[in-house]
């Protein structure tokens, strides 16, 4: 007993000497066993995962017999992929960074990258076995930082995770490595800021010797086949949930002012690599709002076609202060740096509809979407009011111009109902506050006097119930131009990392210049407050439907030093607010975080951004949601080729959408809203009725079915087969098309079977 007490005392003494921190780190490391050779670290479902001492892994799919390697086997001998591309593709992660000086400022202007292979070659990678997988720690002495990847197998899928707590930079890194780093390693230490971490850059990469394609969620969806181009390899980076709005002028203008990069948008956090014998689907479970997808197409200088996600740790931005060009990186909090991607092994090759089905199943299991039995009809975007430049006694000011009053909207609904249109749904935009563009923040469901006031609004709501029409009253609860309604422009506007209000201005693609005025965005707290007030006032009306187009399509951070919000926090604020809505809800151009809450989606993306590296586009967005959330095509009458958009609606099972105003659209000429140039209701009506008659015959048969198959029969001719057996063939070409079984589809037309 005495001996035991003595032993315990010695142990306590040792522990006291080591200090708690040392104890904890010792405990953490000691729980994991270091791997020294290729080791099987887990088996789940059909997948057997093994990792070697360099952190390279293999995932064997026993069902298909195919082995997925963390990097392309044989890349060392590839003559095309050389230099930095090869090093990136040989690695399990690539860390992008900027150097920092002794004051903590960024000292390098360009963003650099370091590949995981560097740590491997420098012997600075440690691989540990964990409970159901492995942890690979990379120490990058050259940039004074450390990052770890966690691999685990769960229910047959592979999870790859970055935990914020594992990212060590600067002093934290030095402290960690001081005991085991060599003198040479410590000599090259140069502090840096990690900006992003690319995960598994070449996992599943396809080569020209394989058949298959990579699916990327750009817009409605696009794919790159494995066949390389014979010109310079290219790549694109597609941010999930769109660009960051709080960096200076988010539409990036090139140095020469000669080109402008339109912001790309990945609408949902899924991508896939489909091969002859097996396929993987990557779904980002955590941190997708701070991530982007990098898509590479094989070409002269790269033999691999692949996509991989990047976790954005810090935003980076440039500005000019006092005539000097400066660079900034956002402050970050590692508690918001968690990132997790799940790779699902599909055991076989899948077609596009198969991919959609797999992803839909995951969403359904996660209760993010649910089956819908909504009937398809005709959808309208109706423009209520706009504010325009005016003058009062010669003093310039803004004045509200009514374009569709509540009574006029009632007339539109009545007229269309009388013409036999059932299931009309309206997204009523700019119906309150200051019209389309807020002046003060919008925080109240309140009628606009110019549009008829409260009594007319009540009449409109009654009429919509009587006609069984769903009016979604849209509100932008994020943007404002002036302080008021409890939100201050000085305190509550989102700021850039240069401590300036992140002014959202319209960019002219002709002159590459921004308009002088714009609006700002509310921070997370102000947004939540405005939302709460808005819902409180909206609840006074019975059974009205709401729309939040801007929430659905605009996610941003706030880089205010005093009160920063990450995109994760902003998204949390959205989700918390949206979960309080009891009534029906719609959204336009909606990212996938909105799917859980939306009963209808207006203006679902109809195409991808059509990057040069894509080989085609796929309506994956629609294939996932069909039968679950009704959605529309983009506004038909805003398109220069309207018939093609009607065909796209039929092809993708979308509702028709027209944007209208009761007044003549000439009223928008010369205003900030001149993009509404084709929206005069009386001019649109006849065409809308005609198109409705043509398309409703087909879509009413399939509105609650899911897409079972989608294929292109030839260029410009596609066939969509639904779960109820109905097949729809759409012909975009200017010649008729006859199917193998003799069904003739005229040029620019469609036919259905079943």
């Amino acid at each position: 007993m005495k001996k035991i007490i003595k032993k315990i005392s010695v142990l306590i003494l040792i522990l006291a000497l080591l200090g708690c921190e040392g104890l904890l780190s010792f405990a953490a490391d000691s729980s994991d066993q270091q791997i020294t050779g290729k080791t099987v670290i887990g088996e789940s479902g059909n997948i057997v995962l093994s990792v070697d001492e360099f952190g390279h892994f293999e995932a064997l799919n026993k069902a298909s017999g195919y082995t997925w390697n963390s990097y392309p086997v044989g890349i060392e001998n590839d003559t095309k992929t050389v230099g930095i591309s090869r090093r990136h593709f040989q690695s399990e992660l690539v860390v992008n960074y900027v150097y920092r000086d002794e004051f903590g400022k960024t000292s390098s202007y360009e963003e650099n990258s370091v590949a995981g292979i560097e740590a491997v070659e420098g012997g600075a990678v440690s691989v540990y076995k964990t409970e159901n997988g492995a942890k690979v720690v990379y120490d990058f002495y050259s940039i004074c930082a450390s990052v770890a990847l966690h691999y685990s197998l769960n229910e047959g899928h592979l999870s790859v995770e970055i935990k914020g707590e594992d990212i060590l930079e600067g002093d934290a890194f030095k402290k960690k490595v001081k005991d085991y780093a060599t003198t040479e390693q410590l000599e090259v230490i140069q502090p840096s800021y990690i900006t992003s971490i690319r995960v598994l850059p070449a996992f599943g990469a396809g080569t020209e010797n394989e058949n298959g394609y990579v699916f990327v969620p750009d817009g409605s969806g696009a794919y790159m086949d494995f066949k390389p181009t014979t010109h310079v390899a290219q790549n694109v980076t597609i941010p999930f949930y769109g660009p960051e709005y709080a960096i200076d002028e988010y539409g990036v203008i090139s140095e020469e002012f000669a080109s402008v990069t339109r912001p790309l948008k990945a609408y949902f956090p899924m991508y896939a690599i489909v091969k002859d014998n097996d396929s993987i689907m990557g779904v980002i479970e955590t941190g997708e709002e701070r991530s982007a997808l990098n898509a590479f197409k094989a070409g002269i200088s790269n033999a691999y076609t692949v996509a991989s996600p990047s976790m954005i740790y810090r935003e980076i931005s440039h500005n000019v202060i006092g005539g000097r060009k400066v660079q900034g990186v956002s402050l970050t909090d590692s508690s918001f740096a968690d990132f997790k991607i799940d790779y699902y092994f599909l055991n076989d090759s899948v077609d596009f509809a198969g991919l959609a089905k797999q992803y839909r199943a995951l969403l359904e299991a996660d209760e993010r979407i649910a089956k819908s039995e909504a009937e398809y009809g005709l959808a309208l975007n109706v423009i209520g009011a706009i504010d325009v430049d005016s003058h009062f006694l010669g003093i310039p000011c803004r004045r509200i111009k009514a374009l569709t009053t509540y009574e006029q909207l009632g007339n539109i609904i009545t007229e269309l109902s009388e013409n036999g249109i059932e299931d009309i749904s309206v997204n009523y935009i700019g119906w309150n506050n200051n019209g389309i563009q807020n002046k003060k923040i919008n925080n109240s469901f309140k009628a606009l006097g110019k549009l008829g006031g409260k009594s007319d609004l009540n009449k409109l709501i009654s009429l919509s119930k009587e006609k069984d029409t769903k009016i979604y009253f849209d509100a932008d609860l994020q943007s404002f131009k002036k302080s008021g309604n409890g939100v201050s422009k000085l305190k509550n506007a989102v700021k850039t990392m240069f401590d300036k209000q992140a002014l959202q201005r319209k960019l002219s693609y002709a002159t590459f210049s921004y308009e002088s005025s714009g609006y700002v965005l509310a921070d997370a707290a102000s947004f939540s407050k405005s939302f709460k007030n808005y819902i409180k006032t909206a609840d006074k009306y019975d059974d009205i439907a709401l729309s939040f187009n801007s929430i659905a399509s605009r996610l941003y951070s706030n880089f205010d030093n005093r009160n920063p919000d990450t995109r994760t926090e902003m998204l949390d604020a959205y989700e918390k607010s949206l979960s309080t809505v009891k009534t029906q809800l719609s959204a336009a151009d909606a990212y996938s975080y909105m799917w859980k809450y939306a009963d209808k989606i207006f203006e679902a993306p109809a195409s991808s951004s059509r990057q040069r590296i894509y080989d085609g586009e796929i309506p994956m967005y629609q294939m996932i949601l069909h039968g679950y959330i009704p959605y529309t095509v983009p506004s038909i009458n805003s398109n220069a080729n309207r018939k093609e958009l009607l065909l796209r609606a039929v092809e993708t099972g979308s509702e028709l959408l027209f944007t209208v105003m009761y007044e003549n659209a000439e009223m928008v000429n010369g205003t900030d809203f001149d993009y509404l140039y084709s929206t005069t209701y009386k001019e649109v009506k006849a065409e809308a009725l005609e198109m409705y008659d043509r398309y409703i015959e087909v879509t009413k048969r399939v509105c609650d079915a899911t897409v079972e198959s989608y294929k292109q029969l030839q260029y410009g001719v596609s066939e969509t087969i639904y779960s109820n057996g109905v097949s729809v063939i759409v012909n975009y070409t200017d010649t008729e098309y006859t199917t193998a079984d003799g069904l003739t589809v005229p040029a620019l037309d469609f036919k259905h079977r079943g």
Binding site: N561, E603, R610, G616, A640
Partner: protein, 705 residues
């Protein structure tokens, strides 16, 4: 197992389908939403206006997949001869011939060409930059590197156009040919280093003349240099940069047989002569009206478009290509902009290194040399309607014009041409009032003036009695007014003052006719009327402000949204204040006797003719057409001169100056006003800079901490 085989088979079919679809092209139907592909138009105020796409990128065809070894190839030009498409592969010294649908047809290597009568000639054309095919199938290759044009027919070299032996072109200038065309019996050749025009060669391939050179754009820099040259020695002049005419970059023949040329010099873009249509003598045929007619508006030198190539399509629309921004502008032969699209970027419809443009029927193809690809642009419904409307506008089928214009407006209410066409139809139908309304929407003042003239004639005819009656009333009122003033100015016998001279209320009128006497009396009798002061200054502001909005459309370029009360007050009250201060300041150093109030009254009273002329102008702008503007100019001119004279005599009188001194003091006053304005501007600039400096410091501080 069977299921798996079926699945694999299905995938193979699927992938094979994808590959066959994309072997040479990425193609998409046009259901892309507007926001993803951007094109625009300009309004009459040179402002960008949103518009539907006139063309859409239908496909990008990569030639890497042709059944040829494409490694190292560099495509530099494309030509369509109404049958086949010819691609010039400059790096491999060959011509790739495609079918109209861009599928491969054949290849012509330089080794396939027999030198014919030019035995021993090296036929390699590596570095060639231009190609043209004559109606008889003869291919012209601009062999830029070797400074020659090769003429090849049926795989045989039939001729060579070489550097002309002429004194017109200096010996040290290279004959680096980039473009060639043939029309009639002549060949028209563009060489990069030769800026003095297009070289014309006859059928015998002999040099004939230089043709259609660009004029030196008259810029401020050029004028300054011309003035400085007057004071320089010949050596100095020779040593400095000289302004020569700009080179021609693109050339084509339009459907009427005229030669159209494009130049990439930004000076010419700004001067509005970057694109020119030339007759066979080299004389210019005007395309459209007005300056800055081509390219993007409201941009300054350095950012102006550079038009490097031009092609004319089957309906005689000019397609010009701006290599600076990678944009394509499509104009009618009258200079009406159909649409503008394109750009530099990685999306379909944008380019990386665009190098040449060609038309295939109504389609436009842009050759991108970096990717050995062409992007094919097809007309959208909107573009098709607009072009058709422009094509038939002079044809006289007004019903069809009306239908098309109406359809165009359904697509785009911003489209000014549609408004113009509607106005045109209404004018032809005799409905001048409606026509005026449409022309007003189209911002077309010339057509509005024509319709207004017809409307006015019709109105006068229909209301002749009323018009006569009103004219009589005006004449009688004028006569009575003149008679009243005449009487008021005449001193009754025995009276000390004339009636207008006697009272404050009429004294301002008296000043206009007897300024020397009256302003002297102002000093002596202190006969000042604050009411008149208020009325005149009020009317001065009123005519400026109200005139801004209410002057007739033909004579008024203002828009309500451009009105700024601060500027208008500065132009009226501000100007008077600065004048009074400057004049009073000057009079203190030139021994003037006038007091500030006297100067103010002098200024105000002397403004009466000007203000009256402005009031008359306000009425006349609603009655007179653009051609009759001279009447308005005469009336306002009289008002201005009268006011000037009265003011001059008034200042002379109140300051008790001699004429010479008065002139001197007026000049000094103008100078003083400029100094005051300069000080105000400097003050604001300094304040702005100080503010910006403080902001920078605060920003730096907040970023550091």
């Amino acid at each position: 197992m069977k299921e798996k085989i079926i699945k694999i088979f299905a995938l193979m079919i699927c992938v094979a389908t994808l590959f066959s679809l994309n072997a040479a092209a990425a193609e998409y139907p046009n259901y892309q939403s507007k926001s993803q592909y951007y094109s625009y138009e300009y309004n009459a105020y040179d402002e960008l206006s949103e518009a539907p796409n006139g063309y859409y990128p239908a496909s990008t065809v990569y030639f890497d997949n042709l059944p040829l070894d494409m490694s190292g190839s560099k495509l530099t030009d494309i030509f369509y001869d109404e049958k086949d498409i010819y691609l010039l592969d400059s790096a491999n010294s060959r011509i790739i011939i495609l079918n109209k649908d861009l599928s491969y047809k054949s290849v012509l290597n330089h080794t396939d060409i027999s030198s014919g009568e030019f035995e021993g000639t090296d036929l390699s054309f590596v570095g060639a930059r231009g190609i043209y095919v004559e109606d008889n199938g003869q291919i012209l290759i601009c062999d830029t590197e070797h400074q020659r044009i090769l003429l090849v027919k049926d795989n045989v070299l039939t001729g060579i156009i070489s550097r002309p032996q002429t004194t017109v072109i200096a010996e040290d200038i290279k004959f680096d040919v980039t473009k060639v065309i043939r029309t009639g019996a002549n060949y028209y050749v563009v060489a990069e280093s030769i800026v003095s025009g297009v070289l014309v060669f006859n059928e015998e391939l002999e040099f004939v003349k230089l043709f259609g050179s660009n004029k030196v754009a008259v810029t401020g820099e050029v004028l300054l240099q011309q003035i400085q040259n007057l004071y320089m020695t010949d050596e100095q002049i020779a040593a400095r940069r000289s302004f020569s005419a700009s080179k021609i970059n693109g050339i084509d023949i339009d459907r009427k047989g005229f030669v159209v040329v494009a130049s990439s010099d930004p000076d010419l873009t700004l001067a509005g002569s970057a694109i020119r249509c030339l007759n066979f003598k080299g004389g210019e045929i005007t395309i459209g009206q007005g300056s800055k007619k081509f390219g993007d508006k409201l941009i300054v030198k350095g950012t102006a478009n550079a038009f490097s190539d031009i092609a004319v399509d089957e309906s005689n629309f000019y397609v010009v290509f701006d290599s600076k921004y990678g944009r394509v502008f499509v104009y009618s032969e009258k200079g009406v902009l159909i649409t503008c699209f394109g750009g530099i970027g990685s999306e379909m419809g944008l380019f990386t290194t665009p190098i040449a443009i060609e038309t295939i029927g109504s389609d436009i193809v842009v050759l991108d040399s970096q990717y050995n690809s062409v992007t094919v642009f097809k007309l959208t419904d909107y573009g098709r309607i607009k072009r058709e409307l422009i094509s038939i506008i002079d044809g006289g089928d007004f019903e069809k014009i009306g239908v098309l214009a109406n359809r165009l407006l359904k697509y785009n209410t911003n489209c000014q041409y549609a408004h113009y066409a509607m106005g045109f139809v209404a004018e032809q139908a005799g409905d001048y009032k409606t026509a005026m309304s449409f022309y007003k929407s189209a911002n077309d003042r010339t057509s509005y003036g024509q319709a207004f003239k017809l409307y006015r004639t019709q109105f006068l005819k229909d209301n002749v009695l009323w018009v006569l009656l009103i004219a009589i009333v005006i004449i009688v009122a004028l006569a009575m007014g003149i008679s009243y003033i005449a009487k008021g100015l005449k001193k009754p016998e025995g009276a000390v003052y004339a009636p207008l001279e006697a009272k404050k209320s009429g004294f301002a009128i008296y000043c206009l006719f007897h300024p020397a006497d009256s302003f002297w009396q102002i000093k002596q009798r202190k006969i000042l009327s604050p009411v008149w002061l208020a009325i005149v200054l009020g009317l001065f502001v009123y005519t400026n402000v109200v005139g801004f909005f209410t002057n007739g459309f033909i004579h008024n370029m203002n828009r309500a949204q451009d009105f700024n009360v601060i500027i208008e007050l500065a132009k009226t009250f501000g100007l008077i204040t600065v004048f009074v201060v400057a004049n009073w300041a000057i009079c203190t150093i030139t021994d003037g006797k006038g007091k500030p109030m006297e100067i103010l009254y002098t200024a105000a009273y002397s403004l009466i003719p000007y203000v009256t002329a402005q009031l008359i102008k306000m009425v006349l702008t609603h009655i007179l057409t653009g051609e009759e503007t001279i009447i308005i100019s005469i009336i306002t001119g009289i008002g201005l001169i009268w006011s000037g004279l009265v003011m001059f005599v008034g200042l002379l009188t109140i300051h008790e100056y001699s004429v010479g001194k008065a002139v001197f003091s007026v000049l000094l006053t103008i100078f003083g006003m400029l100094v005051i304005l300069l000080l105000i501007v400097m003050f604001y600039t300094l304040m702005g800079q100080t503010l910006s400096f403080v902001q920078s410091i605060i920003q730096e501080y907040s970023l550091q901490h």
